[in-house]
Symmetry: none
Subunit: 206 residues, 4 copies
Amino acid sequence: MEMPKETFFNLPEEKRQRVIDAAIDEFSQRSFHDARITAIVDAAGIAKGSFYQYFEDKKDLFKYIIGLAAEKKIEYVNRDIMGRIQDCTFFQLLRELYLSGIRFAKENPRLLAIGMQLLNNPELYYEVIGEHRDTTNEFYEKLLEKAMADQELDPKIDTKVASRLLAGLSYSMVDLIYEDGKLDFDDMVFVDKLLYIVENGMKRKP
Amino acid sequence: MEMPKETFFNLPEEKRQRVIDAAIDEFSQRSFHDARITAIVDAAGIAKGSFYQYFEDKKDLFKYIIGLAAEKKIEYVNRDIMGRIQDCTFFQLLRELYLSGIRFAKENPRLLAIGMQLLNNPELYYEVIGEHRDTTNEFYEKLLEKAMADQELDPKIDTKVASRLLAGLSYSMVDLIYEDGKLDFDDMVFVDKLLYIVENGMKRKP
Amino acid sequence: MEMPKETFFNLPEEKRQRVIDAAIDEFSQRSFHDARITAIVDAAGIAKGSFYQYFEDKKDLFKYIIGLAAEKKIEYVNRDIMGRIQDCTFFQLLRELYLSGIRFAKENPRLLAIGMQLLNNPELYYEVIGEHRDTTNEFYEKLLEKAMADQELDPKIDTKVASRLLAGLSYSMVDLIYEDGKLDFDDMVFVDKLLYIVENGMKRKP
Amino acid sequence: MEMPKETFFNLPEEKRQRVIDAAIDEFSQRSFHDARITAIVDAAGIAKGSFYQYFEDKKDLFKYIIGLAAEKKIEYVNRDIMGRIQDCTFFQLLRELYLSGIRFAKENPRLLAIGMQLLNNPELYYEVIGEHRDTTNEFYEKLLEKAMADQELDPKIDTKVASRLLAGLSYSMVDLIYEDGKLDFDDMVFVDKLLYIVENGMKRKP
DNA sequence: TATGAATGAGGATTCATTCAT
DNA sequence: CATGAATGAATCCTCATTCAT
């Protein structure tokens, strides 16, 4: 996988940030194809030529930004959730994950927009991310398997299917964010009401 | 809402189809901005100039195609589901809806792709879909309210939240389509396993 | 010189007028090159194809319109001036000519606009009118020669030059029309004040 | 008022001239709308893309060229006339002005053509010339008022009207240029003969 | 003769990328 | 490393004219 060239990492921190920021701005407002290098270099205050000394091409930059976003999100959620995995039930953990996801998205709306774009464009996704489409699914699957092993779940449910369900639900969250204000209760209430259903649907029957 | 010009509707059916087909092809493979009139007219075998006698401009065509897709999907699902609304339980109906949705998407993968496209071009989305934004949510909400009235549902669940959940799940379906083959069971099994959870989560406790 | 085809003259009077009118409208608002056949046929309510059954091409129509305008102006001025040539002095006649010209322009502003266009575009002029650029000059020259013979003029003036002066002055008139209202006296006063100078400049000294 | 971009002024003088020259060539031969960027860049030997690094668009270039022409003419006439305003009578000055105008037009026929163009595209005219519409009239009016104050003029003439006359006469000059050769005397003789009439018409009677 | 669809050449403009300094 | 001009392919769209019915 290409990456920014060395020159980019040799840049003074502040300048590098400006470039990253400008890129996030542009990519969050326009599709990959519509995004303009010109807009990015202008906003970053660097020369057009310099751009091509930092990055191979537009796609190179895009991949880098996507990578950054993923990294940031993982870091964020990790920090939020860290250490609770052990002492929590599966459903408590799920609740924290969703809430943490919502918080992250609200704090980083531009990254959310970029991520959505990627998710809705399979070709681009494939080009940029390559094979690794299933990280999210797999993550939930592992969680579910552990919960199953811990006998928290109804043994009749299929963890592969359930992992899809949990992943799919994150879209409900995003919707919630985009429509902010349309529903008259706050995120935590929403998540709790949602999880009430999920928990009833998946938990081990006594 | 603009529409194709009269000339387009005066065209012989076969030619009109060729244009529509070429447009669907192009729009399903490239973003609105990136889609090329040239590719469309070439594929349709018409002159560049003719295109502009049929449509105001690229956006006009796009809107038309989106409208067609929506119409087609509604028709499809209606035909599939028609008549069963009365004799079905809520969960049976939901099963049919999801299966019908999957079938439609599998039969019309290009329309699916265009729809997904739309989802991440908010500006265009608004222009094209306009007011009809939350049709899906509202549709599920109505269904849920009826089910609630029929005492099929756990009175503790919130129909607004549940409608989001049901809408969000359609994303799990799309995922399924894109990954076709990755899961080792077929759509019906998938939907059944999914609905097993959903039903458990939402149905009225005895 | 091409002319409209026979078909045009076979048209019912009313329809022919509609075409002429539409053409005058378009040509008075846009330069020859910018004028659009489409606009003309739309306004005239005829089919695009019909146009090419009446006229060879855009230029053919333009020539025809120019011809009409010239004819109309000559007719107008003739009617105004008719019969006075004998009983008038040269300067009285000139006054009538100018006033008549102003009246015509005010009553036919669209024709004025087309004429101006032509005058300011030598290439077009040549293409459309051919060699006959000097009609106006020659007309004034004849008038001046008669006046000279009648001993109304200072024998020292050169009639060729004076004819240019008189022709050039018509531009002052046009200016006056375009700026209508900027000067605080009316046309007749303007012409009289102008002719006061001209007469002093050209009349035979006692 | 828009202007060419900085990049244009950073260009080596020689290249810049090539662009200007090509533009003047094209605009003097075709109407603004009809003028082709392609022709200009080809003649100037620059890339199509480069053009858009120098100018915003076609109109931007056109305005610039018009500005240049105006500037050049003012400079030219100023240089010609400079210093004589004090020692000349009004009629002597007028003679110099007309002769200078003729010389300029003959030396810059392409600029003349562009200027004439502008006169019959009112929309463009307004955009380009904007407020400065009646500079010419006002210029002559000031001159006339001074002459009047100096008692060079017949007190009965109206300076506003006379200024129109003098401005209108410049059209006679243009005619002269376009018909070059048709009259059998040279410019100076023509102007002298013209001014003989004008002077007689306007000068103070003894 | 009327119609209006079909055509395609031609124009303006954008933008990723290259290149010379 | 920085710079920013140079490039040209690619795109949308317009419009006079032709053509088939």
